[in-house]
Amino acid sequence: MGDNELGLRYWQSQRLTRRRLLGTAAAGAAGVAAISLVGCKSTSKSTSTPSGATQPAGKVLDGTQDGPGKPGGTLRVRQSSPLPSMKPFGPSILALAQGLFLGFTVFDHMWYVPTDTGVTQLFLATKLEQPDPLTIIATLGDAVFHDKKPVNGRKVTAKDVAASYKRFREEIPFGFDWTHNVMDDIVAVDDHTVKITQKFPWAWVFTSSNAGSPIFSSILPEEILHDDTLLPKDAIGSGAWVLAGHDNGANIQLKKFTNFRDKSRPLLDAVDFRLITDDVAGLAAFKAGEVDSFGFNSKTDADDTKSALKDKIVVSSDLQRDYMCLMLKFEPPFTDERVRHAFNLLIDRDEALQLLVEGSGLKSGPLPPAHKKYTLPDDDKDLQEYWRHDIAEAKKLLDAASFDYNTEIELKHSVRPGDAQLSQVLKAQLAKGGVKVKLVPEDLVKWFSQSLGQSNFHMTAFQHLPYEDPDLPLRFFLSSEGERKNFMQYKDAKVDAAVLAAAQELDETARIEKVKQAQKVIIQQWAPMLNIYSEIGYGARYNYVKGAITGRGSLGLFNQTTWLDKA
């Protein structure tokens, strides 16, 4: 696995493309922080079956499909931008990039929830109990930290876990996330037991958007949590990979942690990252065999590369969990539901798919299509209405709402090519209904922190991050309360009730129904975030790279089952 790497080149917005976004559990972090992703790109990839045929898209592989696997070897992966520091937290959003990268490699976690099954996989924890909806008791197995000063390979204890969660809570720049809003306290009952208490029940608590976040649930040794001299330079954890070296955050080298809690993992000896900032150069390096995997920007690139390299590589595709949306601020004219409905009717999702991703994607409802268990069936009446494209009807609604056709409405967007092009398409589609739109491109970080973050927009269009479960996509519709924030400043009691009901339903079957119901309510109320599509992502790896975990969300990014079939 391993293949594409995303780069956070902060403010280098043009360099960030869809392929590069990885889900972060950053609550409320709308599709922005491109993250220096290392290791397997969770999004695409399925490895080929021994006969060489490509796996059908969406087939789930758990790393055992290529057989037992040989230990050894070094995987070479592209890194598209240097990590500014090795500190996994910090007041600025830039820290998310580091936190994510390190969370998948150097640090261990108590558990992880893959997107496809939603079934919690135990990592450091050997037992998880929920005696009541507000309490979680985790029993930890044995593990040690990496053998580096001042930690020197000592045992991992519950105190480390509790202290780490709390430290992340202190340092997260966002107000709306599980550790702030839902978690009440986390304590070490004894050396091997952690107790978490919540302020209210939250059905999604274990997922990677919440307590199982690859960023915020990282376990660090307690003594270095406040060591600001050490943290930026070196990351010491108990994960499968030891940070062996880096050149100011570039060309990172990871080595296998021989004392990892799972002695059979990881299989590889090392993972080497090569800094290649430019996409074209990255593709060239992949073609030249200098890196072992790659994530493509478009299907055309994938096809071209396949015809160039033929059987040496395996190209795979997967429906992405990121999705495009148009967000309307809940103020006139968008306070009138007819206007929101009309705007939705003006959006031609099929055309957008054709123009922007050559048709290689699926239309999105209030919940992106990748969350197959939870999305409404295609023939659902409300979803049909959501996807309807009818200019005449839209005009009627706008007229009925006395819409002012003469004022130009601003549509702010970041300068990322994906966002910019999406905005152009939306502008043209809205224009067909007589709506005048003015495009306002902004710096990525400025857009995220100020325009989106402080709700300083009338309309904005962007690509959401690939969230691993329905929690965050639905949470965008929840009204602001306390530390919780709604970017659109939208408030609707019915939507709130439906979304909260789903979030607090602990029984999975019932929850699926409630999530579906919530989507219906969102559509019926014409909530002001209109989701457009999710695309299919393409990636490739050389045929000697085996054992990848794909289709299971970002689980594959831990890179523990990859092996190389090389002599």
């Binding site: 123009l355 300068v415 152009q424 398409v425 043209a428 495009l439």
Partner: protein, 308 residues
């Protein structure tokens, strides 16, 4: 003898000498056009550019910012002479519409930069002393720097967007114009007609206005063409870098950039037509400027063209 007179028209002419008829205005310019065919063509192109800049969008066969998924990436052929873009937009339409941005930009630089610059230069050259010194030193300092670097620095301070660019380029035009016109003013200053006017008691301002200015007119025209040439080049360069117009708006530079990035090797028409448009228009302005220079003041012939 008759045959001598035939073979030597001068002899005959001397006997019937008369004042050559003063040709009409149009006849004179027609003559100039015939003598300078290249310049004439350039003039036509410039006029076409201005016309397109003002009305271009209405001549476009289809909406330059519309979308048409069915017609993506068509190569030039029937229906779309220049082919289509990723969004199915007709390249011809975009090319025609792209003139507007450059016209507007050039006009702003002209009005806010060059024209005030000419005034400044004339004042500077005419007045002399410390005003002259200050203005000239500043101009030298500013123009010594590569213009693109100056632009980038200002953009870093104030953010991308045409306004910042307009400001910086206008300042450049201001200084450029002032240097040119200072030289011209210095020349004019010492001419006889000024001494003559002064001797009749005309005030300095009146001299400037009634006498110096009309003689400077030609240089304004020449400078104008230079300013537009430079403006088109700079605007397209910046849009090419992504620091100019907002995305989606038809601009030759931005279209060129999009063309190169979306795979110029697969769809070369996306690159060729915008680039050709820029080159053609800049060429026209340059040639027009050269021709004007030749016609209006042959002494300036051979001097270097507009600064890159």
């Amino acid at each position: 003898m008759a045959d001598i007179a035939d073979r030597s028209p001068h002899i005959g002419a001397m006997e019937t000498w008369e004042l050559p008829e003063r040709k009409s205005f149009t006849a004179r310019w027609w003559r100039i056009a015939r003598d300078n065919p290249v310049g004439a063509i350039a003039f036509v192109i410039v006029v076409a550019f201005v016309f397109l800049g003002l009305f271009g969008a209405s001549f476009a066969p289809s909406d330059p910012t519309g979308l048409n998924a069915a017609e993506k990436y068509l190569s030039p052929g029937s229906g779309h002479i220049f082919g289509t873009t990723k969004f199915g937009q007709d390249v011809l339409s975009r090319t025609l519409a792209g003139a507007r941005i450059d016209l507007k930009f050039g006009a702003i630089v002209l009005i806010l930069g060059f024209l005030p610059g000419t005034a400044l230069g004339v004042i500077s050259g005419y007045t002399g002393r410390w005003i002259d010194y200050a203005i000239q030193r500043s101009a030298e300092a500013w123009t010594a720097f590569p213009q693109l670097f100056l632009l980038l620095t200002f953009i870093a301070a104030f953010g991308p967007g045409l306004k910042t660019v307009e400001l910086v380029v206008a300042i450049g035009a201001l200084f450029g114009g002032s240097r040119l016109f200072r030289a011209v003013a210095l020349v004019e200053k010492h001419k006889e007609y000024i001494a003559a006017a002064r001797s009749t008691g005309a005030s300095e301002w009146r001299i400037l206005y009634r006498h110096v200015l009309p003689n400077i007119m030609p240089y304004i025209l020449i400078g104008l063409s230079g300013v537009f040439a430079a403006a088109v080049l700079i605007e397209s360069a910046l849009s090419f870098l992504g620091l100019g117009v907002s995305p989606g708006e038809p601009s030759w530079g931005a279209d060129l950039n999009t063309g190169v990035q979306t795979g110029g090797d697969k769809y070369p028409w996306l690159v060729i037509f915008p680039g050709a448009a820029i080159s053609l228009v800049v060429l026209a302005f340059n040639l027009l400027g050269d021709t004007l220079r030749d016609v209006l003041d042959p002494r300036l012939r051979g001097s270097t063209g507009p600064r890159k």
